[in-house]
């Protein structure tokens, strides 16, 4: 290729290599064949062939979230692109950096309802951070490099690049990443020092402070979690995490109150309710976290650190907004704290911890111990104990099992926990685990699943087989769409409309059919042995854990209720107290 110009397809491959991409997840089709041809002729970038385009995006999300890198996807036009939409929306909601190339019909056919044409930029506009339709091959390299910049900077997110087939064939000029800067997109990363000083003023005088840490800290990189951990320990304040923030602060640390929100801990929610100074770091006051907004943490002054100015004052009025990267801002606060040789109000803090310990003593995640039936919480506790000390990554599907996993598993560091928080996408966990395993071939990667969710992307078992990915699928099989059943029980008079998982497959045979190992456990006594076998087996594995069908997930803040109005267990029914307003909430 000395004087010959590269084609659009070759430019794509070259740009990926220059962006340090080593793996992409994809599925071929007519409108991307030139790129697949260019892929065939090179060996910088490895392609993982998924079995459904939605799974390609989730796999890229798992890859991205477990490595801190950008995940890359390649799909064809029309149905390839529309299949990717759920994954893109998921990545947008959880701020995961993704580049998704979609094939498109040739430029002269756009708008003609050509075969496998879809208005991909139109469809994906509201579910991407940004998208591009590249009609000029000479703009291709610049666009790709710009797209990587947009995907990973500021609040990360998915970016679609729609590529008409003629552009993939056309020869054009390649330019390297260093030569590309974006005209306008430069998010503010460093916090305003005045705001940082004001934050430290508030922290110094706080009587009942709390750190409320979200996924933004995970997105800010592993260093950010270390900084936040140091900040929390230096101040001696309690720290709670959102579903997306788990791992940002070690859960074994006594200062951790665990997860907050709808199924969060009693101590975390009551501490949020009763605090006088709240420091939100990379968290967005999501409705799963706040419960009833009008009753949310009524007596506190709030500091909100976020890289996305639109997150500030969206749901909750805050007293001190700080725009900036969560890690850099935590570092700035820590530096200012140290510079001042600041001390927390020791006396007040002692009383606050005494109160928190009383809440903690309530032991809110307690469940009935029995040897008659496998309690899902017990299965997860055993999973936690038997994987202790191993490099373990957990992904989940969506439902009760997801919440129990968040409550009962422990995360000591960032990037080990992958779950669909914002969109709540059933079918996320298996492909995400695939992406994690690709990035960490030697690690133990477990998808904590429900029997209903797992069927939503079960075809990916075939991908596991092809690439010999020893992903473990840990099904908490309650034969119900448990979370739906729980809501029907609490809010709809126990009318279980269409929430029973009828006609389930035999998961052991299903594993076998896909070349994996399958085991079913029905007896409490067999739980440990089965988990150990799963861990030791260097192959994909389905563990069908048949658990208590009736178990519900507690504590629970019912819709429309406040943090201090939690339901603590099955005896704590408050059906009658859920307001009409609460009933319409999801």
């Amino acid at each position: 290729m000395t004087d010959q110009q590269p084609t659009g397809a070759e430019i794509v491959m070259k740009a990926l290599a220059d962006q340090g991409v080593d793996v992409i997840f994809g599925y071929p089709g007519g409108a991307v064949l030139p790129i697949y041809d260019a892929l065939f002729k090179q060996n910088h970038v490895r392609h993982i062939l998924v079995r459904h385009e939605q799974a390609a995006v989730h796999a890229a999300e798992g890859y991205a979230r477990s490595t801190g890198k950008v995940g890359v996807v390649l799909v064809t036009s029309g149905p390839g692109a529309t299949n990717a939409v759920t994954g893109l929306t998921d990545a947008l909601m959880d701020s995961i950096p993704i580049i998704c190339f979609t094939g498109q019909v040739p430029t002269h056919l756009i708008g003609n309802d050509a075969f496998q044409e879809a208005d991909t930029t139109g469809i994906t506009r509201p579910c991407t951070k940004h998208n591009y339709l590249v009609k000029d091959v000479d703009q291709l390299a610049r666009t790709i490099h710009e797209a990587f910049h947009v995907a990973r900077s500021g609040r990360p997110g998915p970016v679609v690049i729609d590529l008409p087939k003629d552009v993939q064939f056309a020869p054009g000029t390649y330019i390297s990443p260093e030569t590309v800067t974006h005209r306008t997109y430069r998010p503010q990363v460093e916090p305003d020092p005045k705001a940082v000083a004001a934050a430290v003023d508030m922290l110094e005088t706080a009587k009942r402070p709390i750190f409320y840490v979200g996924g933004g800290v995970i997105n800010a990189g592993a260093e950010a979690s270390r900084t936040v951990t140091e900040l929390v320990r230096t101040t001696g304040f309690p720290c709670t995490m959102t579903l997306m923030g788990l791992g940002a602060f070690p859960s074994s640390d006594p200062q951790s109150l665990g997860m907050l929100g709808m199924h969060g801990s009693y101590e975390a929610n009551l501490a949020m309710h009763g605090c006088d100074v709240m420091v939100a770091l990379g968290a967005r006051f999501d409705d799963r976290v706040t419960g009833n907004l009008t009753k949310f943490s009524p007596g506190s002054r709030k500091i909100h650190v976020d890289i996305d100015p639109s997150s500030i004052n969206k749901n909750v009025r805050v007293d001190l907004p700080i725009i900036g990267d969560a890690g850099r801002t935590a570092a700035a606060i820590l530096a200012e704290w140290k510079r001042r040789k600041a001390k927390a109000d020791r006396g007040a803090l002692k009383a606050w911890w005494k109160q928190i310990e009383e809440w903690r003593a309530r032991n809110c995640f307690a469940y009935e111990k029995t040897d008659q039936v496998i309690k899902p919480q017990y299965a997860l506790e055993r999973l936690r104990e038997l994987t202790r000390g191993r490099k373990t990554f957990i992904t989940t599907e969506v439902g009760q099992h997801q919440m129990w996993a968040a409550q009962f598993l422990r995360f000591e560091g960032p990037n080990q926990w992958m779950t669909s928080g914002g969109l709540g996408t059933m079918g996320y966990g298996l492909p995400a685990a695939m992406g994690v395993q690709i990035a960490h071939p030697d690690a133990l990667v477990i998808d904590v699943a429900g029997e209903a969710s797992i069927l939503m992307n079960i075809q990916e078992m075939s991908t596991l087989a092809q690439y010999r990915l020893p992903v473990k699928i840990f099904i908490l099989n309650n034969q119900w769409m448990g979370m739906v059943r729980q809501w029907q029980e609490l809010l709809h008079g126990a009318r279980y409309s269409e929430s029973y998982s009828d006609s389930l497959p035999d998961f052991v045979k299903l594993a076998d059919a896909f070349g994996a190992v399958g085991r079913r456990v029905t007896d409490v006594a067999d739980v440990d042995a089965a988990i150990l076998e799963m861990i030791e087996t260097p192959r994909p594995f389905i563990l069908d854990m048949c658990v208590d069908q009736k178990e519900n997930c507690f504590p629970m803040i019912p819709s429309g209720a406040a943090h201090n109005e939690m339901l603590m267990g099955p005896e704590d029914r408050r059906e009658a107290t859920v307001s009409d307003e609460g009933m319409v909430l999801v």
Binding site: T121, G122, R125, P126, K129, H130, N131, L133, V150, H182, R183, T184, Y185, D308, P309, S310, I312, N313, K314, R317
Partner: protein, 167 residues
């Protein structure tokens, strides 16, 4: 809610395909309302367009709208002309009135008072061109209704801050 107020917001954007759809999609997707929206390229060399959007909401919603607009990748700048000091607003309308006799004469007389210009006339119609504030246009149009108003085309509001400073 009582603290709902009308705001005029100016947005400078890259003039690239889809940018208007992004802005409109943001308003519809998040349930904000658009009272008026105008757009045109203002710098051909840099390919920058200026969008003027009139919307209403509580201070919190208006703050959200501005932050959401600013977050769009092709957006260069967002300014709230209602909050950011004094500004002037204008709208242009083309108004067609059909009729003969007294009504026709009366429409011409009112147009003169309102400083509307006649830019097309037949024996049985006028097209008036009028520039002014939204309220002034509304008032004139209301007066034309009984006089044979048949068609209206309005540009929507454009606005600019007073004084020497640029956006």
């Amino acid at each position: 809610m009582s603290d709902i107020r009308r705001h005029t917001i100016a947005v400078l954007v890259d003039n690239e395909p889809g940018v208007l759809a992004r802005v409109i999609g943001l308003f519809s997707g998040r349930g904000y309302n658009i009272e008026s929206l105008t757009v045109a390229e203002v710098d051909a060399q840099e390919r920058v367009s200026r969008i003027t959007v009139v919307t209403s909401g509580t201070p919190m919603i208006i703050e959200q709208i501005k932050a959401q607009l600013d977050r769009l990748v092709p957006v260069h700048a967002v300014r709230d002309l209602t909050l950011g000091g004094k500004s002037v607003e204008r709208e242009l309308a083309l108004i067609k009135v059909a009729g003969t006799g007294d009504k026709r004469i009366e429409s011409l007389r009112l147009a003169d008072i309102f400083r509307a210009r006649v830019i097309d006339s037949t024996t049985e119609s006028f097209v008036f061109e009028m520039t002014g504030s939204t309220e002034k246009l509304d008032a004139f149009i209301d007066l034309m209704r009984p006089l044979g108003l048949v068609d209206i085309s309005r540009t929507g509001v454009v606005a600019i801050s007073r004084g020497p400073k640029a956006l």
